[in-house]
Amino acid sequence: MASGDLIKSYRFRAEREQNWRDLEGLIERAEKRGLRSLPPEEILRIPTLYRACMSSLSVARSISLDANLLDYLEGLATRAYFTIYGVRAGLGGMLGKFFALDFPAAVRKTRLHSSASAFLLFLGIAAGWSITASNPDWFYAFISADMAGGRTPEATRAELEATIFEAVSWHDALITFAAFLFSNNAGVAMLCFALGAIFGIPVVLLLLFNGMLLGAMCAVFAGQDLTVGFLGWLSIHGTTELLAIILCGGAGFYLGGGIISPGRRSRLAALADRGRTAAVVVMGAVVMLFVAAILEGLGRQLIQETWLRFAIGGVMLTFWLTYFARSGVDRGGN
C-alpha cells in the first residue's frame, strides 16, 4: 500500500512518546504542588510540550485506533489544558480586581433591579410604620417581644431613650451581638441570591417583611417623639446595611429575571451570566455587611451625638454611592 512502512500509528507513537511522558511528569507535579513550585526552566518547557501534545492529539484522532493511546492523550491534553489555562492571579490580585472593577460594575449592571428592591423595602417600612402607628398591637405581628428587647409600644419614653443613648461599656455582649448580627445578615444576603433562582418571588416577601419590621420599630419610637434620635441611631450602620440588603434583593431579582425572560440567548447561557453577576453583588454585599457590623458594634456605642451619627451614616452612604458610580468606569473614552 501507500507508504509500505511500519504501521504509521506505531511510528507516530514511538517518535513522540517521550514528550508526552515529560509533559505528564510536569503536569503531575504542577497539580500536586502548584505551577509555581516548578523551576523556571521546567515551566518554560511546558508551553512547547503542551502544543506538541495538542498536535499529537489531533493527529492521533485521525490516524490511530489504539484505544488506550487515545484515552491517554485525551486525558493528558485535558489535564494540561487546565494546568495552563486554569491558573489565576494570586489572592491579592483577585481581591484588588474584585473591589476596583467587578463589584461596582456588577452593582451598576443590576441597578434597575436594585431600585425595585429598594422600592419594596421602603414600601415595607411605610406599611409597617403606618399599621403599627394606627394600632400598636400590630407591632407583635412583626417582632416578637424577646426580639424587641424592651423596645415595645408599652415602653416609656425614658426606657426607649435609654436604648439609643445609653453608653454601653466595652462589654463582651457587644461582640456577641455584632457577630450574631453579621452572620445573620450575611446569611440572609446569600439567601436572597439563592431564592432569586426560584423566580425571585421569595425575595419580594423577604424585603417586604424586613421593611415592615423596621417600620414597626420606627413607629414605636415616633410614638414617643424620638424619631430623629432613633433614625440617627439607625443611620450610623443602617445606611451601609440597608444598602447591602437592597443590593442583594436586586441581585435576587436580576437572577430571577434571567429565568423568566432570558432574552435572545438560551435560558441556560443567560442564567450562567446573570448568576455570576448576581454572585459578585452578593459577595460584595457580604463585605458591606461586615463593615456595617463593625460600625454597629463599635461606632454606635462610642458616638452619642445624634448629628455625628447622621454625619457618619451620610458619609458612608455618599462613599458607597460614589464608589458604585465611579469605580472602574473608563473615564478616557465615551
Binding site: S62, L65, A77, T78, R79, T176, A179, F193, L271
Partner: protein, 316 residues
C-alpha cells in the same frame, strides 16, 4: 446541539485557544453525592472540633460571651464558605471532590471564575442546608406531617436535579455555568503492535527482527471493524488470570471461525490474537487514512451484502 451518542455517555468537549477540542467526562452522579457527603462529614467534624476547643477555651481563657461570638462566627464561616474557599484554592476541587477525582470546570472553558464558584455554592443553602436543617431540627412543635412532607419534596427536587438533565447539573451549576467533570487519569500502556509482530504484507524497514507467527489475508481482515478491534485490545490488555485465559481461548476460536483461518500445528492463542490485532489495526488504520472509517462488523457485513452477496457469511 444535537444529542449524539457521546453526549449520552457524559462526554463533553471544550475548544482550547489552539483550536483543538479537548474531551471532558462528566462526573458520575453517585460519585458526586459521595463527594458531597465526605465534605459534609468534614464540615460537621470541623464544627464539633471548634465547639470543643472554644468550649474549653471559655472555661479557662475566654469569657463566655466572647466564646459565643467566636462560635457564631466560625459556624457561619464553615457553613457558608467551606466549599467556596476550597474550590477557590484548589481550582474547582474540595476535599471530597479531590478524593473522588472530581473537579468543577467552567462550561465556557478557561479559568474557573471566582464569581462562578460563589454562585454555585451559595445555592447550596436553598438546595440542601435549609430543608435539611428544618427536617433535622424542627423549629416548632406545631410543624406537622404535611410540612415535613413539603420539606422532603423540596429536598428531593433539588438533590435529584442532576438526574433530570443530560449535563448532570444541579441548580447551582446551572446558575454558575459550570460542569462537574471526572479527572480520571489514564496510564499509557505498551503498544500492542510490537516490532516483533509486524505482519507480513507490510514491508519492513525496522532494524528489529520481525517475526509474525500468524499471517492473514485482506479478506480475513475485512470481516471486522473498529469496535471489534478495540474490544480485542481490552482482551489483550486484561491482567493475566484464569478468566482472561478462558476469554482469550474463546475469542481465538471465534475469530478463527469467522475468518475461516486455516493453519495447523499447535496454536498459541494469545500470540494468534496479538498478531491478528496488529494486522487488523494496520488494515483499518490504512483504510481510515483514505477516509474509509470501518465502524464495526455489521457495517462490514452490510457492505459485503450490497457488493457481492455470498451465501457463506452468516456466522457470527
Amino acid at each position: 446541539m444535537a444529542a449524539t451518542d457521546t453526549q449520552h455517555l457524559g462526554l463533553r468537549s471544550l475548544v482550547t485557544p489552539e483550536g483543538v477540542p479537548v474531551r471532558l467526562e462528566l462526573g458520575d452522579r453517585g460519585e458526586r453525592a459521595g463527594a458531597f457527603l465526605i465534605d459534609l462529614m468534614i464540615m460537621v467534624l470541623c464544627l464539633i472540633g471548634t465547639w470543643l476547643v472554644i468550649g474549653f477555651g471559655a472555661l479557662f481563657v475566654l469569657g463566655g460571651d466572647l466564646a459565643m461570638a467566636l462560635v457564631i462566627m466560625i459556624s457561619f464561616f464553615v457553613r457558608s464558605f467551606y466549599f467556596m474557599a476550597f474550590e477557590l484554592r484548589w481550582q474547582g476541587q474540595t476535599a471530597g471532590k479531590r478524593l473522588l477525582g472530581l473537579r468543577v470546570v467552567d462550561r465556557r472553558g478557561g479559568a474557573l471564575a471566582p464569581s462562578a464558584i460563589a454562585a454555585r455554592n451559595m445555592m447550596r443553602e436553598v438546595e440542601v442546608f435549609i430543608p435539611l436543617s428544618i427536617l433535622l431540627f424542627p423549629y416548632q412543635d406545631s410543624i406537622g406531617g404535611l410540612f415535613t412532607l413539603l420539606c422532603l419534596l423540596w429536598l428531593g427536587i433539588f438533590t435529584l436535579m442532576p438526574l433530570f438533565n443530560r449535563d448532570r447539573m444541579r441548580v447551582g451549576d446551572m446558575i454558575a455555568g459550570t460542569w462537574v467533570v471526572s479527572g480520571r487519569k489514564f496510564e499509557l500502556k505498551r503498544d500492542l503492535v510490537s516490532a516483533t509482530t509486524i505482519p507480513r504484507g507490510f514491508r519492513q524497514k525496522a532494524p528489529e527482527q520481525i517475526t509474525a507467527t500468524y499471517t492473514f489475508t485482506p479478506a480475513q481482515l475485512d470481516v471486522y471493524g473498529i469496535t471489534e478491534l478495540q474490544v480485542l485490545e481490552t482482551v489483550l490488555r486484561a491482567p493475566d488470570n484464569a478468566t482472561t485465559r478462558a476469554t482469550i481461548d474463546e475469542v481465538w476460536r471465534r475469530i478463527r471461525d469467522k475468518t475461516e483461518w486455516k493453519g495447523d500445528g499447535p496454536i498459541d492463542a494469545y500470540r494468534f490474537l496479538n498478531d491478528y490485532y496488529t494486522a487488523l489495526r494496520a488494515h483499518l488504520e490504512q483504510h481510515m487514512l483514505f477516509g474509509d472509517r470501518r465502524t464495526d462488523k455489521h457495517a462490514m457485513e452490510q457492505r459485503r451484502a450490497t457488493k457481492a452477496p455470498s451465501p457463506d457469511q452468516s456466522k457470527t
